[in-house]
């Protein structure tokens, strides 16, 4: 006698603790095995690209804060870079160094969250995440000192940054940077000797080199699959060509490698911040830019290596005060393209581990 079986539809999200925001996945299951998955977007679609067309270039900076809200600083940086490219604006050296320091702190903060939430997703509920929050809190305190904001900074402006660092910033940053390696080591000791973490991450959600390239994966997801590609080296912007740092890569491209790459990148960010603190010159932090900017007719694309991958802004100007078109290259959305292939044939219990290892922010997926 044959048993009649049928597939089962499981809906995860949009309100779900493991979907990192309002994101929904529609699984088709055969028993415990995923046969198909359809990601459903749009629950946080605010039409930022359309709204940006109705505001001036400097007003649009505040919208970029609300894309990937766990990495607002780097969003600011990518946008002002594109505007500066479009309008041909030079940025003072000190401002460039300040941008690098803030961006690398943001990378550490975003990677802490990525690792913390990943562990949360694989069952280490909240405890490791709170360790990560402890360090992130110190970064937010540093940002608070600089610009009075903890989440949406609006710190980087066209032609520089909004304000110079206060006196107490440098000693606080030094304290933080000196203490961080010890904390990262602590995470590693707690997690990488934990057999459950290893079993649940190693050889799970493997993305091959060829697939990673074909799926336009970027950032840690691309590097974990063994591709040495980092915009900071491939297309150096700001003053990144002056720093010595490595590009950490993985071998297999599994969940564990993606986690490892993020941990290693935090070490590299610490190295960059240390060099930047040594090299930072005195001087201006803002060039004179007219309040209502009118770049000449044309287009520009500015890209940076954001914490989640290549973040770029494609801007078109018609000579007016507002961008004619603003397009965001969202690393979160494009990295998700590979999700379907990663999940098909996998047990449902691993779905959240794989999804968590991609590290998305729905603010950037839906825009």
């Amino acid at each position: 006698m044959t048993l009649r079986t049928e597939t089962f539809i499981l809906n995860a999200g949009p309100q779900h603790p493991s979907t990192h925001g309002v994101f929904r996945m529609r699984f088709t299951l055969d028993g415990e095995v995923i046969q198909d998955v359809e990601p459903v977007f749009g629950y946080l679609h605010r039409g930022i690209e359309k709204l940006a067309e109705g505001l001036t270039y400097s007003q649009d900076i505040v919208f970029t804060d609300r894309l990937d809200y766990l990495a607002s600083m780097t969003n600011n940086q990518a946008y002002v870079l594109a505007v500066e490219k479009l309008a041909g604006i030079q940025v003072p050296e000190r401002a460039e160094y300040l941008r690098v320091i803030m961006a690398e702190l943001m990378r550490i903060s975003s990677h802490l969250m990525a690792v913390g939430f990943l562990l949360n997703d694989i069952g280490a509920f909240l405890t490791p995440l709170l360790y990560m929050y402890r360090e992130r809190e110190k970064i937010l305190d540093l940002y608070d000192m600089v610009c009075g904001q903890r989440l949406t900074y609006n710190y980087m402006r066209i032609g520089g940054v909004s304000q110079d660092i206060p006196e107490e910033f440098v000693p606080a940053l030094k304290r933080f940077i000196d203490s961080l390696p010890r904390f990262i080591k602590e995470y590693e000791q707690l997690l990488e000797t934990n057999e459950i973490v290893l079993i649940r991450t190693k050889n799970v959600g493997t993305l091959s080199k060829e697939s990673a390239i074909n799926y336009s994966a970027a950032g840690p997801v691309l590097r974990a699959s063994g591709i040495k590609w980092d915009i900071r080296k491939a297309d150096p912007y700001s003053v990144y060509s002056r720093f010595k740092f490595e590009i950490p890569t993985g071998i297999k491209g599994d969940v564990y490698d993606r986690y490892r790459v993020r941990i290693e990148e935090m070490h590299q960010s610490i190295a960059i911040i240390k060099q930047a603190m040594e090299q930072i010159p005195q001087g201006e932090i803002q060039t004179k830019v007219s309040r209502v900017l009118k770049p000449a007719k044309g287009e520009a694309y500015g890209r940076i290596e954001g914490p989640k991958g290549e973040l770029g802004f494609y801007l078109v100007s018609d000579g007016g005060t507002n961008p004619y078109r603003l397009h965001v290259r969202p690393p979160s959305l494009i990295n998700l393209t590979a999700l379907r292939e990663l999940l098909i044939g996998v047990k449902i219990a691993d779905a959240m581990a794989i999804f968590g290892s991609i590290d998305i922010c729905v603010g950037e997926v839906d825009r």
Binding site: F41, G42, H45, G47, E49, K50, S211, I213, N214, Y215, S216, A217, I227, W229, A234, D235, P236, Y301, R303, E310, G312, Y314, V316, Y324, R325, H327, R329, L333, I334, L336, T337, A338, E341, D366, R367
Partner: protein, 148 residues
């Protein structure tokens, strides 16, 4: 990218493989005819001389008299970048071939362009709105879209 693209060489190479496809070029931008777009992109990807194996992003712009669709290609091997553009004058039923067979990374981006500009990509396995709901009228990123 750290290596400047030899655009004249690239255009000459394309003239040989897909004759008459490039209408304009300059900097790292080439503009190609929509009917030869797929051939050009597939040549840029597979020709080892260029090896543009990575689709960085794709998007569209509404210039009112025409739509421009932009493909940003990167060669991870040679560290070079090229922007391939194509122009569609038909506002009623703009159509382009899907490039999913070349780069699977185009999947959501083509759906996004369809959702916000109404440009259809033939050969896409799941051509439907991505951010807006199915009953939504109009395409918001078109310049003639009326905001209520």
């Amino acid at each position: 990218m750290t290596l400047a693209l030899q655009i004249a060489q690239l255009v000459a190479g394309l003239e040989k493989s897909v004759p008459g496809s490039v209408t304009e070029s300059g900097g790292n931008i080439i503009v190609v005819k929509p009917e030869s777009l797929f051939k050009v992109l597939s040549d840029l990807k597979t020709n080892k001389e260029w090896d543009f194996n990575y689709l960085s992003f794709m998007t569209a712009v509404d210039y009112q008299t025409y739509f421009e669709v932009v493909y940003d290609l990167i060669s991870l091997e040679h560290n070079q970048e090229v922007l391939v553009k194509t122009r569609l004058t038909d506002r009623e039923k703009p159509v382009l071939p899907s490039v999913i067979s070349l780069w699977k990374g185009a999947d959501f981006q083509e759906r996004e362009i369809f959702d916000l500009f109404g440009i259809n990509f033939t050969g896409h396995p799941n051509m439907k709105r991505i951010f807006l709901w199915d009953g939504f009228q109009g395409y918001p990123l078109r310049k003639d879209f009326k905001q209520s």
